[in-house]
Assembly symmetry: C2
Homo-oligomer: 209 residues x 2
């Protein structure tokens, strides 16, 4: 830390320490799911990796599902940072989603975690229900605003409703993941997405080289 950094009060220092510990736990959970699989990575094993007690972990994440949702939230931040999610809606956002899908093909463990937890969390009251409700609304919102901006620019095919196209795009990403996880040789995560985008857009989906 730079010597000129402001001195923190003890309560904000406690907050910062808590945040750091949360981050450590989420990082350990990401690694544990990648190494041990969805069913192998128990809270106890994750606590051991962080070097805290099971009770200590429970203080931060009362359930396994709450920790899983935190892992997915962190992944959303990483996905947005990698390659750079454009600040304003438009073609760049849709291309970014294609890049996320391509990245997912090399990261089956997190794709599996997402697909399993999304299906479990459909029930209100599930610890990850809030995460998925927000996540879906947010990505549908980005995508809908992007389709609307393209329509405005005359780059969306006539008759394509931006909100309907947004729900379709996100559904396509998610549904492909389940087919791909079930039968990896038969389906890929990118081709059908690119097909959909190319059919609704009047501009090339792929980046000019």
């Amino acid at each position: 830390m730079a010597s000129g950094a402001p001195r923190t009060t003890s309560s904000s220092a406690g907050y910062a320490k808590g945040q750091m510990r949360r981050e450590q736990i989420v990082e350990a959970a990401v690694a544990a799911y990648a190494d041990l699989g969805y069913h192998g990575a128990s809270l106890r094993k994750i606590a051991k990796r962080v070097g805290i007690s099971h009770a200590g972990l429970i203080y931060y994440f009362p359930t396994r599902e709450a920790l899983l949702a935190a892992v997915l939230e962190r992944r959303d931040v990483e996905d947005a940072a990698r390659g750079g999610l454009p600040q304003s809606p438009g073609l760049g956002v849709l291309r970014h989603l294609l890049d996320v899908a391509a990245h997912n093909q090399d990261h089956p463990a997190i794709v599996e975690l997402y697909a399993r937890l999304a299906a479990e969390a459909i029930t209100p009251g599930h610890p990850a229900h809030g995460y998925f409700t927000r996540h879906y609304r947010q990505v549908r919102g980005y995508a809908a605003a992007s389709f609307a901006a393209l329509a405005e620019a005359g780059q969306l095919r006539d008759g394509v409703d931006p909100e309907t196209a947004a729900a379709a795009l996100i559904a396509l990403m998610d549904g492909l993941q389940v087919q791909w996880l079930t039968d990896p040789g038969e389906v890929d995560l990118v081709g059908p997405l690119r097909l959909f985008l190319q059919q609704v857009l009047l501009v090339p989906v792929d980046q000019p080289q």
Copy 2:
């Protein structure tokens, strides 16, 4: 049974009786999931509804997941029968899938069962993994043959690969279900499907009145 029906040997009579019992169990399971929800309908409760012992039920369906897969197989048969799945691939098959999606909107219990089990069954060795592998290959196959027939008739947009479009269509149906179950007011199961089909086809998706 007509008096002229052939007399069965005792082993085929036993087989028929076993089939009937299986059918009874699957029917009771369908009703139990609709009444009690995914987590409420235990094997014990289902056995009670059929009037057999828990051990008797286990003889037919060794795990809860195997019974759930049988419920979904039966639903596939019902979906194909309702409205009539056309014998030959083409526009009729795609319209049939739209009808299935519309029917699903009034049957959230079975949609929930399908979405949850699909995500759980991605692992080889899960009792429903075989069902989902077959199911996906079969519906993708029907859909791909239908897009190919439309391409042959000059009714598919240029550049649309039938197999890619098929994977996309099934992914779209499945992904929409999870969004719809998570946040029912925000998404519908039919609109995005119709949008996709209308974008890739050069003929109207909706039946002429």
